[in-house]
Symmetry: C2
Subunit: 114 residues, 2 copies
């Protein structure tokens, strides 16, 4: 990740639970496609067993965010999302102003601190 | 949620998997405590089986974000997070500049659109 500022697209969703609806394959494809776009910085995603999912993609500029939104294949996925996959979602575009990262330093000996 | 702009605290984490480490109770307590703070607007959270979690809290102002960071009980949780619970985390503060919400309108008859 570069220094701030950069941009986050926060997608929070509640899935419908329809077997065989092609969601998993399209989600994988969208992640692969996002990674190929100009200005892509990173992606974080979590979906819990209750069906609530959060996916955040990070971008260099608002123009990059707009271009990803208008990507032809992504537009198809957005349409299917509305028609098939989601009960609810919220989409937010945010400017990241501060960022901090922590990595545990003693992963090889987790009990040594006690 | 109010109109934009407002602020998002994006917490992405990778858990250590230690049984009986008190994580669940503290996470619940932090959510309860956040909801009582001035300027709190909402919270979204998802943790997937791989141990990756994303929690986003939303706040009216940067001052509200700073006050929540310095909350005494929250400071204890932050310390335990570094010492016990997380292999890795990233914390970002972002200004939400655009927001859109979608709610499916035909939940009672999901096949009617075809």
């Amino acid at each position: 990740m570069p220094d701030v500022p950069y941009f986050a697209v926060i997608f929070t969703s509640l899935r419908r639970e329809l077997p065989g609806d092609g969601y998993g394959a399209m989600a994988d494809r969208m992640e692969e496609l996002a990674r190929e776009q100009p200005g892509f910085l990173g992606l974080e995603s979590a979906r819990d067993p209750a069906g609530i999912g959060i996916t955040i993609s990070y971008w260099e500029t608002l123009e990059d965010v707009a271009a990803w939104k208008e990507n032809a294949e992504h537009l198809i996925a957005q349409k299917l999302g509305r028609e098939e996959w989601y009960k609810w979602f919220a989409l937010r575009v945010a400017r990241v102003e501060r960022a901090f990262e922590f990595t545990r330093s003693d992963l090889s000996s987790p009990d040594s601190e006690n």
